[in-house]
């Protein structure tokens, strides 16, 4: 029973990890917390729902979803992230925080107004259960965990081994030095925001696939878990973010069996407080996106 729960938690943490990694990369490269990140995932999923409602096939739905996600990413970068540069010290941190909260509110409530403030069934859900080695595994969760693993590995490779990844890390570590090496930091930030928004979009759709439905305000719990995973894992570390996500996923799944599903959010908070008390810098140490 316990192992079953741990397995469920592990699989579910794939989606958390995709969000957590997005928060981490944006923070690493720009020192900004994008509070609208998880809402972007919700919008991507909603776009798929809407597209299918309008009679589009799965490929077109995905394309539309990607386009919408990219568009929102550019808006976020322009309105919330780029302006942060002209502020100094701690004010520079507050402005994008507030701006992205605003954008998040806009996305959530636009979705609620356009598609209704209720849970909508996701067209490509996989809620069947498979029996693997004696464990009951949700097909959808298995798929999302699998896709998450592939994407996370790809991201790790991208950041650690490619020229693009090096440039992203360079901008994160020393903006001026990046400039004198001919790198355009603003452009790198834009591409990074678009990329991570894409990850968020996929995460949102995977949530739809795994749990069968999407709702306008579904981004909020994911944002909290993604952010907490990032802090718990060690700010700026991709591996830490994944670790944090797994920790949250597993603890949540196990605790929910013993304490009821109402206690879910309480446990996320408890994990955060415990890690802050014991290891305030997080589980893994990193230098400007690693």
């Amino acid at each position: 029973m316990l192992l079953q729960q741990i397995l469920n938690g592990l699989l579910g943490s794939g989606i958390y990890a995709l969000y957590a990694v997005g928060f981490t990369v944006i923070f690493g490269i720009m020192g900004v917390l994008n509070m609208a990140h998880a809402d972007v995932g919700m919008v991507a999923a909603m776009a798929v729902v809407w597209a299918v409602m309008m009679g589009l096939g799965p490929i077109e739905a995905m394309a539309l979803s990607l386009a919408v996600t990219a568009l929102i990413a550019v808006v976020i970068e322009r309105c919330a992230i780029r302006p942060a540069q002209r502020f100094k010290s701690d004010a520079a941190i507050e402005m994008p925080l507030i701006a992205t909260i605003g954008i998040g509110m806009i996305l959530e409530n636009l979705a609620a107004l356009l598609l209704g403030n209720r849970a909508l069934p996701f067209p490509f859900q996989r809620s069947a259960f498979l029996n693997i080695g004696g464990f009951l595994v949700s097909e959808g969760l298995l798929i999302s965990a699998g896709i998450a693993v592939v994407l996370l590995l790809a991201l790790e490779l991208l950041v650690a081994r490619t020229s693009f990844g090096r440039q992203v890390r360079a901008v994160a570590q020393n903006r001026n030095a990046a400039r004198i090496m001919g790198i355009n930091p603003e452009f790198m930030v834009l591409i990074t925001v678009i990329l991570t928004s894409g990850l968020a979009g996929i995460a949102g759709c995977l949530a739809g696939v795994s749990y069968g439905f999407v709702a306008p305000y579904m981004g909020i719990p994911y944002a909290i878990k993604g952010l907490v995973a990032m802090i718990v894992g060690g700010i700026g570390s991709l591996r830490g973010a994944v670790l944090g996500a797994i920790l949250i996923g597993v603890v949540e799944a196990v605790a929910v069996t013993y304490f009821g599903s109402q206690s879910r959010d309480v446990w996320v908070f408890v994990i955060l407080m415990i890690v802050l008390a014991l290891k305030p810098t997080g589980l893994v140490k990193a230098q400007g996106v690693a």
Binding site: A80, S89, M95
Partner: protein
């Protein structure tokens, strides 16, 4: 007329919470989970009244103390965190509180607290607002207020100038939480109940928007912002989602174009008018973090 009195009284109660948030933001602790601390006041005062029959005159002060303690404790636990990471913990706290409170029977469980003794007179509300406003005005203009601003602007710099940042943060957050609790207690006694969802984001977001729109750099900001927000939905009747959509848009626009809110715009206009008249435009230059911190040092020396 009675309709507007109701609206204004609700606005007054919300303005009290906004004042508490204002103080907390001033010290650099961005509290996205305001509703939780408001809820502390509502639940403590309400439960003591509903369960033990204690009169509001007793339970409200107790809830203020509870608010202060809870706030101070939370701040003390999160001292290492700055600005956004602090904000994230308040976010996590908020969602944990909504779930957590519904597990506690003393506070009415999932259905919430009912049977809270009513306070029908508007006098406590108006008095509370006046007192809170005056208190925060006094603090803001004192040496402590300067220290708070210095801490909020640049914590490290403030420390260099001799501000006891940790103590200040904890005290200020606790005090702000007490004022937020006051607001919650008044809410509980006004409506006779308090529910877990009241600890959620709706109230927190609207309070944040109120402070941001009104202006986070002036004590008048939270007042202006709250009343603006309360009047608006009465003038434009729309669904709650539409209201939140507008609030979100306002928040975005304010942060992009006038980060100091309405009071900031007014102050800027006044400054421009003044410098048109005076010969020295430098005199109306804005103080930066260093100047604020130096002011702290100067002020504390010349006592």
């Amino acid at each position: 007329m009675a309709f507007w009195t109701t609206i204004l009284l609700t606005a007054a109660i919300n303005a009290i919470a906004a004042l508490g948030l204002f103080l907390q933001i001033r010290s650099g602790q961005f509290n996205i989970g305001v509703a939780v601390f408001v809820g502390v006041g509502g639940y403590v005062s309400g439960a003591l009244g509903a369960r033990f029959g204690l009169p509001p005159a007793v339970t409200i002060p107790i809830s203020l103390v509870a608010g202060f303690l809870f706030g101070a404790l939370f701040s003390a636990l999160t001292l290492r965190l700055h600005h956004w990471f602090f904000a994230v913990t308040t976010l996590a706290l908020s969602s944990a509180a909504v779930s957590g409170i519904s597990l506690i029977d003393f506070f009415g469980g999932a259905l919430g607290l009912s049977g809270v003794p009513f306070v029908t007179s508007p006098v406590p509300i108006v008095l509370s607002l006046l007192m809170s406003f005056l208190l925060i005005c006094l603090i803001d203009r004192s040496a402590v207020g300067l220290a708070i601003r210095a801490t909020g602007d640049d914590q490290m710099l403030a420390q260099i100038f001799g501000v006891r940042v940790k103590l200040l943060r904890v005290m200020v957050f606790g005090f702000g939480a007490a004022i937020e609790a006051l607001s919650g207690a008044l809410l509980a006694h006004r409506f006779g109940l308090y529910q877990p969802t009241d600890l959620g984001f709706a109230l927190s977001l609207s309070t944040i928007v109120a402070v941001m729109i009104g202006g986070k750099n002036s004590v008048w900001g939270p007042l202006l912002g709250t009343f603006f927000l309360v009047i608006m939905p009465e003038v434009i009747k729309i669904a709650p989602e539409g209201e939140l959509l507008i609030l979100g848009t306002l928040l975005l626009l304010v942060s992009m174009f006038c980060p100091d809110g309405l009071t900031g715009l007014i102050a800027e206009a006044v400054r421009r008018l003044r410098s048109l008249g005076s010969a020295n435009p430098e005199a109306s230059a804005r103080p930066d973090a260093a100047a604020v911190s130096e002011g702290v040092l100067h002020h504390s020396k010349h006592r």
